[in-house]
């Protein structure tokens, strides 16, 4: 009797278990990204997704790929049309547009405290709006000074002591500008990007911060007409007048010049090195990296450059999305990504691992502490950045005074960021 009861129970257990197993549906997460469209990262993205799916057989990742330049528009259009995405890869400045749109959700509740506490506070705080976190930083970088050690030696400078302050920076730029490359072309001493793209505006914002200026005052109002900002634009004007800086160069132009040995120093994100190696792999050993030199008012400050992972508000699988984000911000995935181009891992436990600090990045390690979180989120940051570029070009190419440009910029940004 007991045996037959046991057999019946066993049969029921098997039936229920198999029914439950059959009912367990495979969830599909839609991951919008640009990484899988780029040659340098596409294989890493494929592997990362395959590894996650292998570890989580009930979750399938549908990679929705867009070129970098189109992703923001596409994500907003898809969201407006009710075409639901779950996880979105975003550039730092895009996050403001997503927060403004209301399509992304705050993420704090989906992650453990220990996970969130592992991030550098200044990096995580940069993604806060109204006290809530709207994205998980994936890879991060402050603006850093990149320099050519061989050109430093040629100019009589010590390649192991990059400039620490503004005076040294300008002196070194002057010495480097006197050099010629092997074809007799002149070398530029110091590159600052002022090309017509938003990322140039982010770089100019970094200069404004370093000179004690910025966009917002302590009361959260736009306040551009300050001495710090005037000094920042005067610095750009000086670089132009002394011909240290190539005119209206985009970051890719500066990377090209650095790769062919025609640029002594320039400011870039750490992952910009991938662009330099891509053109000239042999130059890797000649490159050095350093934090932003100090001015008389600050010890060098930077806005955050980061790739961020956001969870969309309409996603029906937010917990699974968080699980995927945890996986791709783990050590294993980041090590793979680091092989393509260097970056700082925003998670302290990972950033301090030896795999993330080759000899070049070590020089710029202190740069992470120079990151200043944005005082206020605004969906129009990218447009504001383009106005900063326009202001820089007015000072340099159109010969306007820094004072008049800053005054004009104050009016414009008050409208754009209202």
């Amino acid at each position: 009797m007991k045996r037959s009861i046991f057999a019946i129970c066993l049969v029921f257990c098997i039936i229920f278990a198999s029914a439950g197993f059959a009912a367990e549906k495979k969830i599909t997460l839609r991951f919008a990204n640009w990484g899988s469209t780029e040659k340098a990262t596409s294989d890493t993205f494929k592997k990362m997704i395959a590894d996650f799916e292998a570890k989580n057989p009930t979750i399938k990742i549908d990679s929705v790929s867009f070129p970098y330049g189109d992703i923001k528009q596409q994500v907003l259009v898809m969201s407006a049309a009710g075409d639901v995405l779950d996880v979105v890869q975003a550039e730092r400045a895009m996050v403001d547009s997503y927060i403004g749109s209301g399509y992304v959700t705050d993420v704090e509740r989906y992650f453990s405290k220990s996970y969130l506490n592992d991030f550098y506070p200044n990096i995580l705080n940069d993604l806060k709006s109204g006290g809530k976190i709207y994205g998980i930083p994936w890879i991060a970088s402050p603006w850093v000074l990149v320099y050519n050690k061989e050109l430093f030696t040629k100019a009589g400078l010590n390649p192991n002591t990059p400039p620490q302050n503004l005076t040294q920076l300008m002196d070194d730029a002057g010495k480097l500008s006197g050099l010629k490359d092997k074809d007799g072309n002149s070398v530029y001493g110091l590159g600052e990007t002022t090309g017509n793209v938003p990322i140039s505006g982010s770089s100019i914002y970094r200069i404004m911060l370093t000179f004690g200026g910025g966009i917002w005052n302590k009361r959260g109002q736009v306040a551009i007409n300050t001495k710090g900002n005037v000094d920042a634009f005067r610095y750009l004007k000086t670089l132009y007048e002394k011909k240290y800086n190539p005119e209206t160069a985009k970051l890719k132009d500066l990377r090209n010049l650095m790769a062919i040995g025609r640029l002594g120093m320039y400011f870039d994100q750490t992952w910009g090195m991938g662009g330099i190696y891509g053109i000239n792999p042999a130059i890797k050993s000649q490159l050095g990296m350093a934090p932003i030199p100090a001015t008389s008012v600050t010890s060098g400050l930077s806005d955050l450059n980061a790739h961020v992972l956001c969870i969309m508000k309409d996603s029906k699988h937010k917990k699974e999305a968080a699980k995927f984000i945890e996986f791709i911000t783990s050590k294993e995935t980041l090590v793979e990504l680091y092989k393509q181009s260097p970056f700082f891992a925003p998670r302290m436990s990972i950033d301090n691992l030896p795999e993330f600090h080759d000899s070049m990045l070590k020089g710029a390690k202190a740069g992470v502490k120079q990151i200043v979180p944005l005082a206020k989120q605004n969906p129009n940051y990218e447009n504001a950045y383009l106005e900063l570029v326009n202001a820089a070009q007015r000072v340099t190419l159109a010969g306007e005074t820094p004072e008049s440009v800053v005054k004009n910029l104050d009016t414009k940004l008050k409208t754009i960021l209202k």
Binding site: Q73, L76, Y98, Y103, N196, E247, P379, Q393, L397
Partner: protein
């Protein structure tokens, strides 16, 4: 009785014409008319893509912003300057080259084929190609001019306030000239040879032949080609966006760039549509003025 048969046949003909035109009209309605009306309609609304749920009538706010922020008129001026210079130079050069290619010169057929190459290139490729040619550091143009001692040092063609627009104009002429030449050449070949022979017998000189025979016969071709060129250049976007992005210091910010920036950089579709509506009005106005001027000449 015969009149009745004729009017019945006319009715049938008209119905047949309407029937054959119908597919075209439907396509034009859906691909042209409805989007234009939708765009004009949208221009009266607050429609910002990055601000969900804020789609409402905004009491002409888009237009008020455009007319007060001071970017509209410089954009109009740059657009008109660009269109006028490109069309005028294209017509002059196109006429010259068409006249040359219309003569019995050696390799005429080969030259007529080669001249089409710039027209075959997609505009995006043309923009990228000329961006590299004009590049201040690695550009071939600077290299040649410096080697020939015409320039002492390389010039930033696309990064200079005064040179950016002329550089785009050069690119645009290079790209569009073949079409102008081909159209004019076709016009030239339709002029009866007897007209020229009679003029030569009457002792007319080359310029007189050009003025009194070639030009009057080409008038309709010129009118159509110039009109096409005006419209094409009025809406020119890829050359500007790829080569300069509207810079430096807004020196190449045309109405197309101004509209795109509002709609797709600021994601303010309502304001972008408002700029596009003003742009459409200016284009229509230009067309009517042009049409009137040419018709007056035709009557004369």
């Amino acid at each position: 009785m015969q009149t009745g048969i004729l009017s019945g046949r006319k009715l049938k003909d008209n119905m047949f014409i309407c029937f054959t035109l119908l597919p075209t009209l439907v396509v034009v309605l859906f691909s042209c008319f409805i989007p234009v009306v939708q765009s004009v309609y949208m221009s009266f609304f607050n429609y910002i893509l990055s601000s969900v749920g804020n789609y409402f009538w905004n009491n002409f706010q888009n237009y008020r912003e455009i007319f007060t922020e001071g970017e509209l008129w410089p954009s109009v001026a740059i657009t008109l300057e660009y269109v006028f210079i490109v069309v005028a130079l294209q017509l002059a050069l196109g006429m010259l080259l068409a006249l040359i290619l219309n003569r019995n010169i050696i390799g005429r057929k080969l030259m007529r084929s080669l001249i089409l190459i710039p027209w075959i290139y997609p505009t995006v490729i043309t923009a990228l190609l000329w961006s590299w040619l004009f590049h201040s550091e690695y550009g071939v143009i600077n290299y040649i001019l410096v080697q020939a001692h015409i320039l002492q040092k390389p010039v930033s063609w696309l990064g200079s306030v005064g040179l950016a627009l002329p550089s785009i104009i050069v690119t645009s002429i290079w790209k569009q000239l073949p079409l102008m030449i081909i159209m004019l050449l076709a016009g030239l070949q339709s002029i009866p040879i007897e007209m020229y022979e009679a003029a030569v017998i009457d002792g007319a000189k080359s310029f007189q032949i050009f003025r009194h025979i070639t030009m009057p016969f080409l008038r309709n071709v010129i009118r159509t080609t110039v009109l096409m060129s005006i419209i094409l250049n009025f809406k020119q976007f890829p050359l500007f966006w790829i080569m300069t992005g509207g810079g430096p210091v807004n020196a190449t910010s045309t109405l197309a760039i101004y509209s795109y920036r509002n709609a797709f950089v600021n994601l303010n579709l309502g304001k972008g549509a408002a700029v596009a509506s003003i742009w459409l009005l200016i284009l229509l106005l230009t067309y009517f003025i042009f049409d009137k001027v040419f018709k007056v000449n035709e009557i004369e």
